[in-house]
Amino acid sequence: MANDCTTVGKSVPRIDAAEKVTGAVQYVDDLQFGPSLLWGKLLHSPHAHALIKSINASRALALPGVKAVVSGKDTPKPIGLYLKDRTIFPVDRVRFVGEPVAGVVATSEEIAEQALSLIEVKYELLPAVYDPYEAAQPGAPLLHPDLGKYEVVNFIFPEPGTNISEHFKLRKGNVEAAWPQCSAIIEDIYSLPQIQHVPIEPHVAVARWDKDGQVTLWAASQSPFAQRDLIAQSLDIPHGNLRVIAPYVGGGFGGKAGISIEANVVVMARAVKGTPVKVRMTREEEFLNTNVRQSLFGRYKIGVDKEGNLLAMEVAYYFGGGGYNEYGTNIARAAGYSCTGPYDCSNVKGDSHCVYTNTQIGSAMRGFGMPEIHWGLEQIMDRLADQIGMDRVEFRKRNCVRTGDTIVTGMKMPNIDLVKCIDLVARGIGWGKKEAATGLNKCRGKGIAIMWKAPAMPPNPGSSAIIRFNEDATANVFVGGQEIGQGSFTVMAQIAAETLGIPYESIRMTVNPVDTRYSPYEWQTVASRLTWSMGNAVKAAAEDARFKILDTVAKYWKEDIKDLDIKDGVVVSYKSEREQPLKKMVVYGLPNENFEGWQGGPIVGSGKFMPTYVTNLDAETGQGTRAVVHYTVGAQAVDLEVDTETGVIEVLKIVSAYDVGKAINPDLVLTQIEGGAVHGMSSAFEGYIYNDKGLMINHSLVDYKIATSMDAPRKIQGEIVESAVEDGPFGARGVGEHVMVQTAPAMANALADALGIRINRLPLSAEKVYLAMLEKGIVK
């Protein structure tokens, strides 16, 4: 279908590029607060699990330049998004090495640092548990004995008396009856450690608590409104008195969603009323203290019939949620209702658990449970295909979800075309064509993996937008979602321009910073939801403004509004062919004949979007009318080589295809695909390493390595599929997370193709690969 839009569907230039490329853009750490700015530092727990017996800050407070020390006694009230299992500072026990135990405010960074060593904390060690499967067993050390008393949303089901903070159950059909009918069954365990987002901008926040009770928080944040809500509740600040200001974010990937250090900084500011306090995480603190992607222990049992149709799936997921699972519970839930991966299977038994472990807090990270479960799913699908002698691509095409399928939770699959995605990547990677390695001692292979993901949110996350005009017919668009690099501001500008009928260049995204005082509400910049949800709100606001303009001009011309349109900033009548430029009239209105009064006035459009159709799921079966708003699906194929002298994997090419519904800005979709491919590849090599006392020992960029320009594949090919989604602007849905979900298993599958080796636990380190080759006799 031809694209008859003027802006939507075009790869217009990014609206934020020019200011970012000159260094003029201000991130939180660049904001100037003047010489009165105080410095905050956090004292981190050295123990994985311990009771806090006492905190003595007297020596620290006596150090000249120290203004305040705060700790759990100052923060008794719980905080948390889905499950309120935390306090801002721990009150009676610490639950991971790195947990902030106290905060110091001082006149300089050096003094704050010195003061940390003067705070005396007495701990009583408790037994710790790190592995999620172990932590889920009876008899494991209990991290949250009061789990039953925590406030929790009605779609999360903790099991008090255990470490299980969420248990999602999926029961569909009858797996027990199906096993005997399977001609091939694969049963195995796949697992992975924690990894982290590693945005180049570390977490940083500044807070000021004025003496009149107004509180301002500047934060590198994906969630200004959610942070306002959670902090306001926990510190008893009226929402209208807490202002969160969130400028451009230097990379988020979920790590700056929800709460990490922001609440701590507000508490520190409260102790020095009237003066701003800044806390910036060092890179080491980023690793030790801020949120991570959860570890996973996954049990899989999947069976097919002799034609290769999936017959039964039984999965048990144990996510290592860390010391506090207030956000992570929803990851386990999302993994539960999507537990099959993008496959059609009538008999499913799924149990997805979020489990407390004495490790960093597992929270939102790109993929939100999907990368974790697809690691095992996609390798098993490969193995099943092999076992019945079917091509791995054909197997996926046979079994993948299609539009209209009744999926695992009982809902009907909205409009998608995963088969097309699979075909595109298979063709792009040269599937079936064995290609020569690029050198001696190299072994080459290709792998494919498919994925799905729905935005994982509460059922009612809202977006809103306001549009207002200036005299020169430029329009200010106000939203509450963040630009974290994904291009959201650009896409919103396109949607607004298209809907209003004005040029893209006339839009002014009035959003840097997002400010909860002025910006309209946006739930969070997560879940790949902005293009879709905030886009709907912007479209609604633009339609509202458009109607108001057309209504004014229709009355002015005495014509039927149905014959009017706005094209390129001019109202036109298809009937009379009259024209009325938007300039000035969008503020001043239009005069009646002989200036007998006026029509119209300043045009302000407002709009909202909140899904109204997501339903509850049965607590025992996970079945329900509509579990999620929609799914984005995609396929990825990888061509890689292994150096048989070292085990080092080099990825030569990645081909990705994602069904985005509608690419509002095709080139920006491609940039997400490229970045995601490299992020996904990097994630296959990353992993938190702990010593036996729960200390993460690779807590710097020296030993936590992320992909560099030399590691990234030289060839990344992105393909865009567009099966319009019914509830998105111009048919669009999100893709920001999906692009890296299945890269790790695609690589594992390529490794199997190259060497016949399967690795069940990430990371795919050279050492692991080499030792596997040795064990298999591929090298001596």
Binding site: V25, D29, R283, T671, G676, A677, S700, T708
Partner: protein, 155 residues
């Protein structure tokens, strides 16, 4: 210990009192308000603080401010000093080589310094040159393309 240093920053002479243990990165940002250069790790690993010292790319976090005495420092703010975007900046914009933008200043300065030394690099050479500049958003492809493109104009 305080030192009075005199150096050139973005072609302007500057005299400043700096503490011995403060890095050039901190002094540029906190005393001169040049916040274009970013703090990413302060350990010489991420390259977000790359600046030019006498035309050579260095990590500002790995130089003591006092060492800048008598030297020529250039930061990202200098690239479009004339009012026009530098060819590297134009190329980054045109190629959509910017997402969150946080690594961008470091990438630009690294590229500028490198192209002065090697005006006609291959793709591989560019990748080697920016290996100390981490980017989590773009996957590097557009950045490499932009640098290769700009090299033609800069040469």
């Amino acid at each position: 210990m305080l030192h009075e240093i005199t150096f050139t920053v973005n072609d302007e002479p500057v005299t400043l009192a700096v503490k011995s243990h403060h890095t050039l990165l901190r002094v540029l940002r906190e005393q001169l308000g040049l916040t274009g250069t970013k703090i990413g790790c302060e350990n010489g690993e991420c390259g977000a603080c790359t600046i030019l010292m006498d035309g050579e790319p260095v990590n500002g976090c790995m130089v003591l401010a006092v060492e800048a005495d008598g030297h020529k420092i250039e930061t990202v703010e200098n690239l479009n000093k004339s009012g026009e975007l530098h060819p590297l900046q134009k190329a980054f914009v045109e190629k959509n080589a910017i997402q969150c933008g946080f690594c961008t200043p470091g990438m630009l300065m690294m590229a500028k310094g490198y192209l002065a030394r090697n005006p006609h690099p291959t793709e591989d050479e560019v990748r080697q040159a920016i290996v100390g500049n981490l980017c989590r958003c773009t996957g590097y492809i557009r950045i490499v393309d932009a640098i290769l493109d700009a090299a033609k104009e800069v040469a």
